[in-house]
Structure formats: C-alpha cells, structure tokens
C-alpha cells in the first residue's frame, strides 16, 4: 500500500485528481440547462479533454532519467495509470453531463491517448497540449460527416454511431497509450 501511496504522491495525483474532477464539473456547468443536444456533446468533450489535460501531467515522473534506470516494469504501470485516469474522468463526465454516454466514453478513450502521446513526445508538463488542441476544432466546426477528413478532425463531437469517429478515437487511444507505455517521458 505504501509504495502505491508514494507513487501516486510522486505523480502529484492527490492534488491533480480533485483539480481534474473540478474542471470536468465546471466545464459541464457552463451548459447547464441548455437545450441544444449538440451543445451538450461539445461541452462534455471539452470537459473530458480538460479533465485529462490536468491528470496528464502525472503521466511521467519528476526525473525521467531516474525513472528510466528503475527496475520496475513500467509499461503495465503506465498503462494502468492512464487507463484509470480515463475511466475516472469519463465516468464523472457521464454522471454530470446529459451528453450520450457513448460519446463521452469515446472522448475519454481518444483524449487519454492524446494526453499520453503528448507526454511521451513533449514531456509530462505538455501532456495537456494534444487533448486541448484536438478538442477545439469540434467547438468551432459543425459536426459534418462529409468529407471524411472533417469527420475525423471533429471526431469528438460526431454522433454516437459515427464509424470514422469511433475509429479515430480507438486509433488515438490505443496508439497513444502504447507509445507512452513503451517509451515513457523524455
């Protein structure tokens, strides 16, 4: 138990977790009472991206060099850490938002992959960059299903049954988690 507590503290989870859930609730609240269902979808996606952006800074240790020389088996640990973050943020968003659960969980999968990928490429402090960057097109662009490029670009806010959006989320999610699990942070 104590190693787990020390690990979570070293990743600043005790501070980031309440902050992340607060961010989710705050973003969802901005559309409280709005009747437009698409607005609920956009807000829920932003909430998921914000929540994972906050937790993403824990996707690496303070000293990557000391982490790299550690003997523990990193890949499963990194995978579980990011996976739990996605489940928590997705779960809370489903509870507080009126957006369809499928859209929210799809967003959680895609955005956690993006946060993990950003952490692996740019370091844990910049883990927020890719989720935030990819959440924004959905805000300014209507969720058109044609052409395919637009559908993929706006995958978070596409309808629940959109195949390109689901594929985009799966590729980003699985790919991002895998790259992060194997490489860790620079």
């Amino acid at each position: 138990m104590r190693p787990l507590v020390l690990y979570l503290r070293s990743r600043q989870v005790p501070l980031a977790l309440p902050g992340s859930l607060l961010a989710v609730v705050a973003v969802v609240m901005t559309s409280a009472g709005a009747l437009n269902p698409q607005r609920q979808v956009i807000t829920a996606c932003l909430a998921v991206a914000a929540g994972l952006a906050v937790l993403g800074q824990g996707f690496g240790g303070v000293d990557p060099e000391l982490d790299r020389t550690a003997a523990v088996r990193w890949p499963p640990l990194r995978m579980v850490h990011a996976g739990v973050a996605a489940v928590l943020v997705g779960g809370v968003t489903v509870m507080v938002s009126t957006a369809p659960a499928g859209v929210v969980l799809r967003a959680a999968l895609g955005f956690v992959g993006l946060a993990a990928l950003a952490a692996a490429l740019f370091g844990r402090q910049l883990a927020w960059t890719l989720p935030v960057a990819w959440a924004l097109p959905g805000v300014v662009m209507p969720p058109m299903s044609e052409p395919l490029v637009v559908a993929v670009l706006t995958w978070p806010v596409q309808p629940q049954d959109s195949t390109p959006a689901l594929l985009a989320a799966v590729v980003l999610g699985v790919g991002g988690l895998a790259v992060h699990a194997v490489r860790g942070t620079p």
Binding site: P3, L6, Q12, G61, D63, L66, T69, A71, V72
Partner: protein, 267 residues
Amino acid sequence: MARAVDPAELAPTQHAWEVDAGAVRVRAGRRMAVDGLDLRLGTGVHGLLGPNGAGKTTLIRALATVLRPAGGTLELLGVDVGGRPDLRALRRRIGYLPQDFGFYKRFTVREFVEHMAWLKEVDRRRVPGAVQEALERVGLADRAGDTMRTLSGGMLRRAGIAQALVNDPDLLLLDEPTVGLDPAQRLDFRKLLRDIGDQSCVVVSTHLIEDVAAACNRVVLMHTGKAVFQGAPQDLVDAGADSDLGDTPIERGYSALLAQHREGARR
C-alpha cells in the same frame, strides 16, 4: 541490522570485470560524445577525470543504462547491454546519481529514498532497514523527516547519494557527487566511497582532482570521448613535472597528460 542473506549474494560472480567496454561509442544528441573508448573496471573506486565536454557524463549515462551504445561492446556486471538483455535485472544492481536530479518537493527525505528503493525493486521487507542505512551512511538520518524542498544544496546532494546506495548496488555511478558539499562533508564522503569500493565497483566523475587522489584506487582520464590514461593516482602524480600547470603534484600530472594527448591529437 541483521538480515537474511539472499542466495544470489553468495553466488560466485561470472564476470571478470564489472565494466568491460571495447571501442564503445555513445551518442549525446548528434555528437558522438564517447567515441571508441576502451575501459575495464573491477571492484574499487574509479575516478573519472577530464575537461568539460570530454564525455564523462555521457559515459556514466551509458553505464547507467540510460543511453544505449551506438557501437562497440559494453558489458555491465557480465551483461552485454548491446543485445536485448533483461535490463530490469541489471538495473536492480546499479545505483546512479545524475549530475542534476529532479524530485517531488513534498516528499520527506525518507519518503524520497523509500520511493527510489521501490523503483529499484528492493525486497519489501528490507526497505525500511535499507532506507535507514542509506540515510545514516550519508549523514542525513537526523533530517529524514524534513521535506526535500527545505534541504540545502549539499543536503540534496547527499539525499541523491542515499538513493543511489539504497539498493546496495554492485555498480555505483556518481556524476559529480561532491558539488555543494562542505569540506567536512567531503572528507566523510571520501570515507564512504572507500567503504563501498571494498565490495562494489564505484565510478565517480569529478573535477576535483584532490578527491580522486584521496578516495580513488584507480583513475581514468578522458579526453574527446576516449580514455587517454588509466592507472593508480600515483601514476598520475608521476606523469607530472614541476614545469607543468597545477598547484599540487596530481594536478600537474593531470595537466601534463592532457597536454600530451592534445599535442598527439594535433599531430
């Protein structure tokens, strides 16, 4: 503190040298910072000397398994790191203090070293004792409950040394460990090095030549990515003449050998 002896500790070593490098090349960014270095290190304290940019830190990072060699052969504790070995088993037996290290500021000193012990997969039952012993060896036991952010530079350095010691490493790598230590602490540190060097292979990179003279059995002098001299500290002293640069005999030897190598490289 008494502890059970692991059978692995009593097993005879299968390798002649803790570090065995043959024409090893290691890249630091685009530059080949270690370029064709031959090195054999056994048990004892080895001082790694050389001017800035000689490749000392890159070599230590390769020995710590942070960097993979780009060429040549490198065996650590009998394990060839050029192939695809199980690095985890090797890393359990290596202690490493980087030149600068990051840490979670809200950890107490004890929590920091304990967390590192977990990262090094020290047997869970042994962790409290190993942490206490490491803290005592670096003289930080009385500050164990203080948070890392309240420590002075010298204390941080000692906390860093403690984390490198906590897994009782067979290969201990210290990159400029004496920076920030006051004179009394440096004397204690030299004694600690000699103690550890009785059983393990210790590699210490430093700019402080007098530390090498006092604490090391062997000296390796690096220049432009190669080992240009290996020998006892006395051999380094003997290499110098009164006309060479330096205030102490060993400094004069250091200057003389570097000058010789620079001249040889120009020709």
